[in-house]
Symmetry: D2
Subunit: 426 residues, 4 copies
């Protein structure tokens, strides 16, 4: 149905790679994508507050952090009207090709980066080729730069194609924080989607491999808990304190010891802790960040119930107040076998693809599942496609990079799969 024009997407990928922004701070990225889809000539563009439900966001950083990234984006040429639409960290974009009656097909790509300093070593291609991150301490270390290029590439191809129906590309913010999927899936852009694709490059699969339908992502909930007690001089009056440090330690120990579950695997981790100020003062505040995961959604509920109970009682045990916030969340939703078959068929005939797997376990977590669940609930279907890419460093490491050939492969496979769905309609 189409022949992707690879050069421009790759150029875009490199530009976006050089300007990575963390979750909910993708001001420049969103604006740049908006510019590009306008150039392509899509029928509708929804930016920022029109693309997400602000109240459903999770893990939004401090106003101070948002402001700093917004200003930096403005300095780098982000359009004022775009920035206004993204006020208070409401990033993201939905681009629509509307060609009249017919199926509505969605494609989701994610756009945020990670808080790592990118490698400067000479054999790290972005460093060698001059498109290494310009933003200190932030890096596209999970391929979302490639994902955006794929989304743009698919729009380019389909913009020139003839079809009846609608194509929506969801440029989702804050996937790394597991905070944007819920916010974008809650909008009515998703209401009428019949078939849905999400795409990820790599994940251990080499260039040339395509997984048509990834399954078994772990359901996950990440949260922050703050215990507030009362400080006291540890030598003169330890009894006058309400010890947030002890509440925290009790919580950490008991959280890691939540009983295993018969119906599916579970995970639990308290990954971050900050408490108190000095050795001679009873700590009056302690904050932890933690997550639970599970192989099934009801097992995640089991974990969540335990987490909430342990936090509450650990606080009460040491007479501390407790405040908790969910900072990231995603359910487990598996790929639709029939839609995966469409991808499988298309991939088998795509140049550069030498291995196609119908199913594979995902292993980690992803908030594209919010889209998949909502669409499935409304009678549609979705699949999570993995397009292999050779990557020298692992995901989430300073030396991660993608094989740019995979961008072309992914663009072709997804364009053709979307084309198939559009043309197969009665």
């Amino acid at each position: 149905m189409s022949e992707p024009t690879a050069s421009k997407p790759i150029e875009l990928r490199r530009r976006l790679h050089a300007y990575p922004e963390p979750s909910w701070c993708e001001f420049y990225t969103t604006s740049r994508l908006a510019d590009r889809v306008e150039e392509i000539g899509v029928d509708d563009v929804f930016v920022g507050r029109e693309a997400i439900d602000p109240d459903e966001r999770l893990g939004v950083p401090d106003e101070r952090v948002l402001e700093r990234w917004r200003e930096r984006a403005a300095e780098h040429g982000a359009r004022t009207d775009h920035l206004e639409s993204m006020d208070g960290g409401t990033t993201g974009l939905v681009a629509v090709l509307d060609r009249g009656p017919g199926p509505v097909v969605g494609l989701r790509v994610d756009i945020d980066a990670l808080p790592f300093e990118e490698s400067t070593e000479p054999d790290h291609e972005p460093a060698a080729e001059g498109f290494r991150s310009e933003n200190p301490g932030v890096m596209h270390a999970c391929g979302h730069d490639a994902h955006m290029a794929i989304g743009i590439g698919v729009l380019e191809s389909l913009a020139d194609a003839e079809f009846s129906g609608t194509v929506k590309v969801f440029f989702q913010p804050a996937e790394e924080a597991l905070g944007g999927g819920r916010a974008m899936a809650a909008t009515d852009h998703v209401d009428d989607v019949d078939a849905f694709f999400a795409v990820h490059v790599g994940l251990g699969h080499p260039t040339g491999t395509v997984v048509a339908g990834s399954n078994r992502p772990l359901a996950v909930r990440q949260s922050r808990a703050t215990f507030t007690g009362e400080s006291a001089h540890a030598g003169l009056a330890p009894n006058e304190g309400r010890n947030a440090m002890q509440a925290m330690a009790t919580a950490i120990q008991n959280l890691h010891a939540i009983p295993r579950h018969a119906d599916g695997l579970t995970r639990v981790n308290v990954g971050s802790a900050r408490a108190g100020t000095a050795s001679n003062v009873v700590a009056d505040e302690a904050t932890i960040e933690l997550e639970v995961r599970a192989g099934a959604n009801d097992v995640l509920e089991y974990m969540t119930t335990h987490v909430d109970r342990i936090l509450r009682t650990a606080g009460e045990m040491h007479d501390c107040e407790l405040e908790t916030t969910v900072i990231g969340q995603a359910p487990r939703v598996d790929s639709d076998p029939e839609l995966a078959e469409v991808v499988e068929t298309v991939a088998q005939r795509t140049p550069g693809v030498d291995s196609v797997e119908r199913h594979a376990d995902f292993g980690a977590s992803e908030d594209a599942t919010y889209f998949m669940r909502r669409i499935a609930d409304a009678g549609g279907c979705g699949t999570y496609v993995v397009v292999g890419t050779d990557h020298p460093g692992g995901h989430h490491t300073p030396r991660f990079d993608v094989d740019e050939r995979s961008i072309e492969i992914a663009t072709t496979v997804l364009t053709d799969a979307i084309g198939d769905v559009l043309s197969e309609a009665p």
Copy 2:
């Protein structure tokens, strides 16, 4: 024997109050004191490396922090030769009046400030009178500014007096960190001291009260412990981590539960904790700061033995390495009753004093005890004198202030007590 000249010390107190420096960063303060004692015309001045034993310092901050304060001191006019003597955070000063054969008498005053932002409220006198802290986030909130003025006042009085013997005033750095007492008491300036006085204002006693010999300070040890494990993805491979968070939580719980001791009161507090980076990563590092205190030195040893064992085994339990540093320490040493009687007698006849207590419990900890222990071991004696002062806010709070009348009282009492010791010699 003497008439203190109050006005100059108070002027000095105000100048030093306005320029507070934290432990081991007293570059400006030391230099300013050196200038002043030279003006007074003492016989010897020892600055920095000549005043302390650098290897015995505890709780020295990062080189970066030291450098910042050194530069600031230079900008504010600290003399270059003084700054060179204090290279690498070796602050402090010993001033000596050497008048030939006779008793050697020591007086110790401390010189560092606290990491608090001083009150700006109009009824806070330093704010109203224009000598509030010029150094953001640092404040003389424990009266060490008054102590320095007392030390200078005593030197001024005695410089004009006639006596046979030697008087040494120890301007000790880093008392708040419990890190300077050990370093200054380890020098040979202390070797020949026959009678020793340390002085503190306030501590809950009002202006007009003098405690001749404070007793029962708590022995204390403060330390920092870092557990180093290995990070891992908490969802994909929790088993590959070595969990520093769990090591830390186990340590916190068990430290607070060290059994009470029959032979004296004990205290234990983990006051600060920092661990890990994100909810989805097994924490590979965790650092705590803690202290133990005891009513007797061998009970402190008991606590220390337990602390060390708990930290070591908590680390091993979770396969983590452990690194510990002592950051502050002081023994319990009580005042000598006979020397306290000298103070009592003198205080009873001092104008402005309306209540004299021979003994009182100290309650907290102090590293002047290092001097007192070393001097007692060599056959000398020491007493810890508290000179009451009305203080609107509590010690270690942003509204702490001293009643400047107490500076004059303290100067008189100490000058006269030192004079008594000098004249009573056979």
Copy 3:
């Protein structure tokens, strides 16, 4: 005033030593004492339910245990009417000499034994002399046999004496369990007591020493807590359990870590734990026995508040029910200085006494303090007298024994002190 007839009390001490009974099981002991005071010819005898308030008892053992000891007592000749009065473990006795108007003086001695097997070694005098315990696993290892002999000796002496007033001897059960003091002090026998003596032998003081007023007993509360959860197959369905083992472990760790208190020493101990049945079953029940002590009654309240909160929240944390029972309790009450002076004066003239201390710290806990508190509240006074005795083995060890000379000394001192109080009345 009197000359104690020593031989009969010692004979009685040996008979009672040979038949030790645990707390609330002193059926034979009470009956034997009742027989003896009737022989002496006192004016009133109150046995069992008439001597204590059954509702105020703490730490009463199982009905099964009570029944076994009651039957054994019956077999050994305890009178049926006595046993009926002690139905359900209501042991104890009050003997009264009522000689008309005048002061009311009380003496309390305790009567229960400990759950130890007595030594059989030939140099253990009760073994050598043939009055070793006949009751396996139970032993008079704290001198209560001597106390009873003293109580009887005092009654014998005073029965023959002339005085105006009333003397009451309280033979208190269940001191070792800290469960009988509260029950006997709650009766109206105590209402009108003007002066009160409690006596204990030994406690580290040798024969010939008398402590006129022992002070600073530790306030104490002992309790039992049972967590009830739900069992489950630990392999097949761990999530179906409610884990009482984890609730218990969390409680044990946090109880030992209750913060120290500025106003007095504290103690905490979980001394016994029983939980679960087999390694492959999630434990559905866990029971601990614990105690807290404190140097002051309000500090004990502080500890109690913490204990209750920790137990409650540890149970809730693991979704377990909690049941708690107080099994022993005693307040801190100090001796009256004036009454102690009476004892001091008398002791100084008593043959065999070579050292009299006015005050000494008690160190452990005692429920005679219930009497002392109630009597002080009503305007009377009390003192806790320690009469030294050489004891080869420590208290609460299988080789404990008393020097029988101390029985005569104690009898004389107490008889004379009571006599003094009676004769000094206006």
Copy 4:
């Protein structure tokens, strides 16, 4: 090939049901089985020490317990020569039909009972029919009585059949303790086995169902750990104790918190705890019983490494000695698919069988896997067969019972499957 004579096995099952014996105490049971196989006329019988490797036993009870059951067996008619062979708890039996050259086929049935009191309710058939347990507190609540009847039934059938080869029936002790499998599989009786069957009734499958090859039993290790510290008076000298209670609590908390593993499910449970004696004594001893399980043998090793490290360091943390014993163990070994197919084929033609499953997950643990692993290592094969039985109460409950029709079905299926293996040999 055979027609099982059902009546005698059922009679035997009822006799054995009425005389249940716990693990390693199956003195009467073994003797009775030995009598029976001699009646049948097998070629070889190995009893007790000749049937197991005594050094490989796990979970052997106290000598005192063994002696009590041995005496009881003697009173009930166990043969003296049998009892001598089982000296010190070396129970179990191997019966052999040796018919010359040909395949060697093994069948394992287990013989021990559980520590439950059997139901007396009238609708519990063993109670109604008069073969309820005669041994208080012990019950065949897992169908091992049926297993023995099946083993005897197979021997009876094959004794009359004609074949070339060898058949060995392993009557294994101590399966409930996971302590006998290792001991019997370590003998040279197992060396030459080519094909091996283990059988279990029920496990949730109804009468008429046969599972030809059960898979995925959990690898398991059960152990006992004792911490030994030092007791002390909790009020007078808590610091003199070495607190085994705190060591235990720390261990319990950290054991339950061993990190989950990426490569397979894990389980951990501390199921039993006993510590200390009284609330006022620092506990000097604490014993826990615990288990870990895993879906893979190397994951069990991971759990074991963590358990050992946690126990060791928890002991050291509180200065306690540690002693640990493995009390039960079994690896994960799956059924051989080809041998399962033999069972499947035979079962499909067996009267009374209406449903045959080739594979099913086992879920719990079993020590027949020791036989399967050793035989597979030597080139043979094995399968774990489940023969359904309607059971009114669940396994390991007081109302468990088997449908005796399943005994006939199992006997037929196993006789025929063994026959098939024997006749299929080249």
